[in-house]
Structures are given as C-alpha cells and as structure tokens.
Amino acid sequence: MAFTPVEAITREAREALPTRKRTRARFAHEKRENAAGYLFLLPWFVGMFVFTAGPVIASLYLSFTNYNLIGTPAWVGWQNYLAMFQDPQWWDAVRVTLVYVVLSVPLKLAVALLVALLLKRGLVALGLFRAIYYVPSLLGSSVAIALLWRQIFDSDGLVNQALSLLGIHVTTSWVSTPDTALYTLVILSVWQFGSPMLIFLAGLQQIPQEYYEAAATDGAGPVRNFFAITLPLITPLVFFNLILQMVGAFQAFTPSYIVSGGTGGPVYSTLFYTLYLYQEGFGDLKMGYASAMAWVLLIAVAVFTALAFLTSRYWVVYQDERS
C-alpha cells in the first residue's frame, strides 16, 4: 500500500504550487501546453475518476445501503452506522486497532531514532548494520514473515525456546492467548523500524557538525546536545514518520489475518479494523456495512492526521523558520 510523504505535502501546502514564470510565453504556445498537460494527464484522469474519486463517492453512497452483490443496493439510511455502534465486534476492532496504533507507532519511532543516533556516529561496517536493520521492514509486511511470527511466538516456538535458555520456562502460546496476542503483532510492527530509521539517519547526517562543535565549546554534554540541538532539528522528520507510520498502522491487515488464521482471535484480540471490514464485506458480503466501516476509518484517519498537523506547530521546528 502507498506511503504518504506528508512532510513534503505540508511544505507544498505552505509554498506556492510549482508554477514558473515564462518570459517567452505566447498565447498559442500556452494553448498547446494546456492541451499537452491534459493529454499527459489523461491516464491519471481516468485513474482518478474511475479508480479513486468515483469509488470514494460510490462507497459513501453504498454506506447508506444494504448490498450483497446480488440484485441492487437497498437504501437503509443511517442504519449501517447505527448498527456499527451497537456491534460489539466493531468496538473490539476499534479498540484493538487503536491499541495497536498507539503502542506500535511511538515505540517504532523511538527505537528508530535511538538506533539512528547510535549508527550516525560513523561505525565500522555502518553500511552492513544499516542494511541489517532495514531488511526486516522490507520483508516484514509479507505473508511469509507473518507466518513465521505466528510460529515464533507459539508455545514451542523460538521465543519460548530462547526464554528457556535464559532459565525462564513458559509454555504459553503468545499468539493464542487473548491477553498477549496483540502484543506479538506490536512487536512485529516495531521490528520493522528500519524504514523510519533510515529517514532519521539521513536527517541526522544533515545536521551541521558546527552546531555540535559550538555546543561543545559551551561545555554541553551528549544528553544536552540531544535535547537542545538534535531533537528540535529532527522534529520535521519525526512528524513525517509519525504520519506515515500512523496511517500505515491503521490500515494493517496481513499480520492480523495470518497470525489469527483469519479469525481475529482468540476472542477478537487481534481483530484489526481492516480484518473485520474484510470479514463483513467479503466474508458475509455485507458491502453496505463494510463501506460504512471504511468511511468511519477514513474519518478517523483524517481526524488523527489533522490533530497531528494542528499540534505540529507547537513542537515541529522547520529549518527555514529558525531565522
């Protein structure tokens, strides 16, 4: 699924859009360029209207209907939305997803930043370490890894074996116990911190060394350095990664499906929102209900994103504003 370069979007929203002054603009030339622009965009227009904007509107309409793919949609007004709020499984899905997002995203970012800080010191074989930390995030969203994870956290899996080597003997199956199953998925998500780590690393490497040297003459220690220099300068990337990871976490599907065997269990403890949507829409063919669920997800993501944007002015420091 696509990532969202929101940091750039925020900048774009702030700057003027990319237009340029052409000193040699002529009327006919402009007209030709107009036509060229639209021609070049033709595939995108088709894609936008047929596969994006059209479906968005259609799904809004469907969310007010009952439709099981046979026959025609039957208008039911707000019924789907009302039913949602009375559906105990829906609440389970919301709760599980929220916990997942709230736990995995900050943890992931924190670990990513920490490791990036460690790596930026210029170690021997930096490239190798960086690669090792990054590979999991490339592979992590796959079915294969989710299957592996399920076995690793099973009662006779790798984790329990490792624990027994340390002298702790447990036989719980972490993925089959409702109280712990979700945390195995959180761990899976945090394991994939390599991608935000790379972004942090690149950002950290861009901080001019002079700042640190100046601070050193003032006698600042590494902790002070971090909080006074590094952290403020890195806040745009923290913000960017936050949005990116948050939107991704809300839409997670594969780990939940594979680890729970499609059930979202045990006892709905791993019922991600998208999994429940899948069950209702493509299992029971309640397409209207699934559309309503999708819209609630959209609104939730929009609200969280907007909140992040709004609060960003209080903690995100852009370089170009520091004058």
Binding site: P43, S142, A144
Partner: protein, 296 residues
C-alpha cells in the same frame, strides 16, 4: 553558559576522557551488534528451519541442526494442487505489470505536474496529493463491485490494470520531486529546437529521471509482491491464478498440517526476490527510503 574556566575547574585527565570515549564507543558497538543479531535472528531461524526435518524444527533452537532436509524445498514446491512455479509466475506477472503500468502512467502525470502549465493545475495537484493520503479501504468495496461488473474477479486484471492509470499517486509525487531537480535550461533548449513535449519527455526527462524510475520500479515490485489484501480479495475461486502470498496462506490447511518445514521452505523462496532486489539495488533503495521526506 559554562565557561572554559569551569570546565578546567572540573578537569579530568585527557587519557581518562579518551578512555571513556572509547568505552562508550565499545558499548555502542555492543548494542548495535546485539541489536543486529536480534533483528536478523528470526530470518536466520526461518532459513535454518526450512532445512530441518519436521520433528526438529520446534525442538532445537540452534541454527545448525543435526539433520538437513533440503527435501523440504522440493516437497513444498509440489505440495499444493499446482507447483509453486505457477504461483511464482502469477506473482511475477502482476508485479511486472504493475511496474510497467506505474512507470508509464506515473511518469506521464509527473511530467505534466512538474513541467507543464495548464488550467486548474493547482486543483488537480491537490487532488493528486489527497489521493496519496486516502486509505485504500474506502475504495476497495466499490472497486470490487466495478471489477465484478467488468467480469474481472477471479483474474489478475484488477491487480494490474489500475496501475496503468497512475493510481499509485505516491510515485507520481516521487517523480515530480525528482524532475524538479532537472535544470530548466534543458526545457528551454528543447523548445528552441522545436521539440514536442512528448519527445522531450521521452528522450530527455525519462533518461535523466532514471534513478526515480528505478526506485519506482523496485518499490512497486516489492509492494505488489507483498500485497496480500488485494490478492486475497480478487483471486478467489481458482487456485491456478493464486499468487505466492495467497498460496502460502492456504498452505497449512491444504497440506494436512505437519508440514512446517515445507511451509518455511516456500516462505524463504517467496522472500528471495525481495531480498535479491535489496542486495542488487541496496544503495538506491536506501537512498529512496531516506529521501522520500527530504528535498533533494
């Protein structure tokens, strides 16, 4: 402001400072190394488990096992109704299709947004950016219905066709950023030469945008290869068009349990293409991942 006087007031000997620095450095190495081992161990375990016979997989922790069973690979390959070659082929088809689709359609749109002026451009641009943020699940039900009306459910088409219409707005954006780094003088020179927009795009911009194109291609391939949700929804009914992720998810059910060794073997194989891309294009991948948020 701490002055140097205070600093010397609490002066420590130079050698001590050097030692403590070296010690922290050593500590950092230990942590980083330990972390790396922890990170990579599940993958190493997966590979080693794929070579172990069934009863040893969950009883021995070590990576090296007393018995080796490469037969897991050949058994797993043929374990389902169709050999895994079929599933790999299907995955390959949709990935290549998606790559070609994205490269073509996204670069076209990117060129328009980056270089051309046309009416209502800000509005379309904003729409494109909005498309990046949109959760795919809002689109999935109507898209499914659309594909059902077209009769495409149960084929690979729903996974490939949209890519030819620039639906992955993220890559449009990526390319726009890159194209904006190409000097405008080239545009002006081409204009003087009377070059049409399309031939300028094809002959000048695309070759210069090669890094962005390659990044797009690689990430499209990887994301499509791993896209389980889409494949799960559209590839029903007929096992012959299953892709690798879908086949893996059915593996344990379809093979009568007790075949984790084979499952792991096929899992390893399914991860190899991505890993292969990583090895070959490492620099580009890491650069691409690092710069998706930074201006070039």
């Amino acid at each position: 402001m701490i002055t140097s006087i205070t600093r010397t007031g609490r002066a420590r000997s130079r050698s001590y400072r050097r030692l403590s620095k070296r010690f922290t450095r050593f500590l950092v190495y230990v942590v980083v190394l330990g972390g790396a081992v922890l990170m990579i161990y599940p993958l190493l375990w997966l590979v080693s488990a794929s070579f172990k016979p069934e009863d040893l997989i969950f009883s021995t922790t070590g990576l090296l096992s007393p018995q080796w069973m490469p037969g897991n690979y050949s058994d797993g390959w043929n374990a389902l109704d169709y050999p895994f070659a079929q599933f790999f082929l299907n995955s390959l088809i949709i990935c290549l299709g998606a790559v070609v689709g994205n490269l073509l359609s996204c670069s076209l749109a990117a060129y328009a947004f980056a270089r051309l002026r046309f009416k209502y451009k800000p509005f379309w641009f904003a729409l494109m950016l909005g498309g990046i943020l949109l959760p795919a699940h809002v689109l999935i039900v109507p898209q499914y219905i659309l594909f059902k009306e077209l009769g495409w459910i149960g084929t690979l088409l729903p996974l490939v066709a949209p890519k030819f219409f620039a639906t992955d707005a993220f890559f449009i954006f990526l390319m726009i950023q890159f194209i904006r780094g190409i000097p405008l003088e080239l545009d002006d020179a081409a204009k003087i030469d009377g070059c049409s927009h399309f031939s300028f795009y094809w002959r000048v911009i695309l070759p210069l945008a090669l890094p962005a194109l390659v990044t797009t291609a690689i990430f499209t391939f990887i994301w499509t290869w791993n896209d389980f949700f889409g494949q799960l929804i559209y590839l029903t009914s007929d096992e012959s068009i299953n892709t690798v992720p879908v086949a893996l998810s059915h593996f344990v059910d379809s093979t009568g349990g007790s075949s984790y060794g084979q499952l792991f073997a096929m899992s390893v194989l399914s991860l190899l293409p991505i890993f292969g891309f990583f090895l070959i294009f490492q620099r580009l991948l890491i650069q691409g991942a690092s710069t998706t948020g930074l201006k070039g």
